[in-house]
Assembly symmetry: C2
Homo-oligomer: 452 residues x 2
């Protein structure tokens, strides 16, 4: 018994020793010969503003097909899905009419899914609320006929900025209809950002079908402060908003998939991905060009290592995460009927920052299989395994019993850029991006070798 145990331990150590060497080899390759950073430059500069349904989204489909082929995927193919098609139209306008007659323009953008204002725009008095409680308290009497300005800053005391976003995002999603319920004619949201700057963010809002649809803007943090100050000083007579955004009919699009067929268990699939679409104001570098090029890099690094994975590895560029999630749904629907076994789905959609953890949605016994790999990934910055789950695109795979997870990079800078015009290639640090690719490659390699 004791001898046998020793033997098992020795074999395990030996296997992990080989894994450690191979992971080091792949890491060195990614950090020195990798293509992720240049791929990100190409994607961001040649297909920025890749909102679902746009010409640039179609271009991104083409670009990433080529990148996956270049990376050495055995097969590269498209998976069709229908996607919403919202367009912003000409740059929005917002002006304050000041007491003395002066006009002051604000840095604004329409929220995703927002209706337009009509060509004449709308003009109304503006009233500030700090939260929904204040909105409810003021009620129809005060709100009706006005533009509501929701001035709810992200909570800076939450160390994980995604928690602060989770707390504040309800104002973007629910704000317009809750304001419309009291007769508001428009909404201006203090943008969801952790920094003070001039870049309003966009992102989906949702209209409750029982309420009138009112135009909804975000205003930059700097201008939210300015607006609030002017309102306190009673210097603002009216706010003018103009936007030509509108929703067009659904349009066909695609997930892009690149695959390395498993040598031993080709019917067991390990999925790794990010989302290919981005908001239309930005280059979509942190969100989520980073996840895209990291996923392509997993394929490239595995191929370059010369080792064929035991299980099939698929890099999936999901379409339409931002305003619909149709790509993720289409992939899971297909997975439910194709007779393959989807064992793991890994996502990178939290920015290309220094990796700190993996979040895994698995029952305790299987979670332990991941943490057992901890020492192999620790040299590359993974200091924690969080009980959690995957992002929006791989989560539908839980319907086919896949375990899902996501890369958790450092969160401090993410909401300086999120969904705003400053989310550009230059906002991504090369080494931080590549270290994410290293850890994703290592984890995909381990799952594809050992299963879960």
């Amino acid at each position: 018994m004791r001898l046998l145990l020793l033997l098992i331990v020795a074999t395990a150590t030996q296997a992990y020793g080989q894994d450690s060497t191979l992971i080091r080899h792949m890491a060195d390759d990614i950090l020195t010969q990798g293509k992720a950073y240049e791929n990100l430059r190409t994607l961001c500069k040649e297909a920025p503003a890749r909102l679902s349904g746009s010409a640039n989204a179609a271009k991104a489909v083409e670009l990433t097909q080529a990148m996956l082929k270049e990376a050495g995927a055995d097969t590269v193919y498209l998976q069709p899905c229908m996607v919403p098609h919202w367009i912003r139209g000409p740059k929005e306008e917002a002006d304050l009419s000041m007491a003395g007659g002066k006009k002051i323009s604000l840095n604004v953008c329409a929220l995703g899914n927002s209706v337009g204002t009509g060509p004449a725009g709308i003009s109304a008095p503006v009233i500030e609320v700090r939260n929904f409680e204040e909105l409810d308290k003021l009620g129809k009497k005060v709100i009706a006929g006005k533009i509501v300005f929701i001035n709810y800053p992200m909570n800076q005391t939450l160390v994980n900025t995604f928690a602060a976003y989770g707390d504040a995002v309800r104002y973007r999603v629910l704000g317009p209809s809750l304001a419309a319920k009291y007769g508001a004619v428009g909404l201006v949201l203090r943008t969801l950002s952790t920094s003070m700057n001039d870049y309003p963010h966009t992102g989906t809002t949702h209209y409750d079908s029982t309420q009138p649809k009112i135009p909804a803007f975000a205003v930059s943090t700097n201008d939210a402060e300015k607006l609030s100050r002017y309102l306190r000083m009673k210097m603002v007579s009216r706010l003018y908003m103009k936007a030509g955004c509108r929703m067009l009919p659904d349009t066909p699009s695609f997930n892009v998939i690149g695959e390395i067929r498993g040598a031993e268990f080709p019917n067991e699939v390990v999925t790794v991905g990010g989302h290919l679409d981005s908001w239309d104001l930005a280059e979509g570098a942190q969100d989520d060009g980073a996840g895209i090029v990291q996923s392509i890099e997993v394929i490239r690094a595995l191929k370059a290592s010369g080792i064929r994975p035991s299980r099939t590895v698929r890099a999936v560029m999901f379409m339409n995460e931002e305003n619909g999630g149709r790509g993720g749904e289409a992939y899971a629907e297909h997975a439910a009927t194709d007779g393959l076994q989807y064992i793991f789905g890994l996502e990178s959609d939290n920015g290309g920052f220094t990796p700190r953890a993996f979040s895994i949605g698995a029952p305790p016994d299987r979670f332990k299989e991941f943490t057992a790999w901890g020492p192999l990934l620790e040299p590359y910055g993974i200091s924690e395994w969080k009980v959690g789950g995957g992002g929006a695109d791989v989560s539908p795979l839980t319907k086919v019993k896949a375990i899902v997870g996501e890369l958790v990079p450092d969160s401090q800078r993410y909401f300086d850029f999120h969904h705003a015009a400053n989310d550009v290639f230059e906002a991504v640090n090369r080494r931080e991006l590549l270290l994410g690719a290293v850890n994703m490659t290592a984890l995909v390699y381990l799952v594809s070798k050992y299963g879960i």
Copy 2:
């Protein structure tokens, strides 16, 4: 025995509960009301290029005295020290004379301590070596009369970039004298940077007194690649270098100290600091404006919490870390004779990035006292306690038996900026900077309360 143990555990838990609450309170204050970010802006914009002996270094002494008073230090005072006074003179020039007669200029800067070239500059053929082994191999016959170009890139496969710097920095420190030994008339070093850009870094070089002092430049990574390519193509006939830098006599300067006197053990001193001087090309934001404003913030946050520390807490703005270390030495010399007990010295000089660890130089039993505080700091990002030590300024305190340590933030971006003109205020992320201040404040608070 068992009861007693329970009692101790209960008391400990209770105390830690209070500590946890107080640390949360101070963290919230730092993240929302803190002054570190605005202080950094002031220091960088009003006193950039704070090289020892310069007018801006003197201005930085004044500015930080005012900041420490504003932070609420009981006493603020200056500690004199003599510092070296090296000046760069007019912007350096470097031109390649190309085979066809064309001139191509390079992005260069003189290394710190370098001698000048004289007003006429120097012109010589240039020869590339990749390392000292190649230099030795070529020897006097080939090297004599030439300018040596050392093209040794930082090792990108080392996940900790400080390890890559440690590996490469010998070329900057020793390169000029080793080249001079073989008769070289000048040295050009591929700048020590992890990114490809146009910003050469400076930093000290050291002349061996047995060799002629030759002018030593750094060339930006982009231009190092360019120069290497032209040399391979045999397109370069000569390199021209011109610099007016020189060493002036030592000059008086100061450490700036702000103190909160301990309530119970005023003779036991906890030191926290960074260095006030910076290289002359930059604003010295990451290096080390960050450490300065974080140390001031420790004083501000402790005062603002309303709790008087049991032991004396001193924030020290050390002068002359970059090219001499005289401030750190002066502080330790004073400590050896003033009759006080220096129990701990904490330094922040690794950039204002997201904190990941503390490095502590302590024997195992006392190291454990630090790791026992781990759970209190983990919510703010400290996931590791490294056996190590402090930086250059607090390390001399080991002579008076102090335990020393340093903040270890994420290292990925540090050598994109280090000692180069792009180390500016805008390169520092507010939340990353403040989280460093949070963890430093927490650790200083704990040591000042419990001792070691």
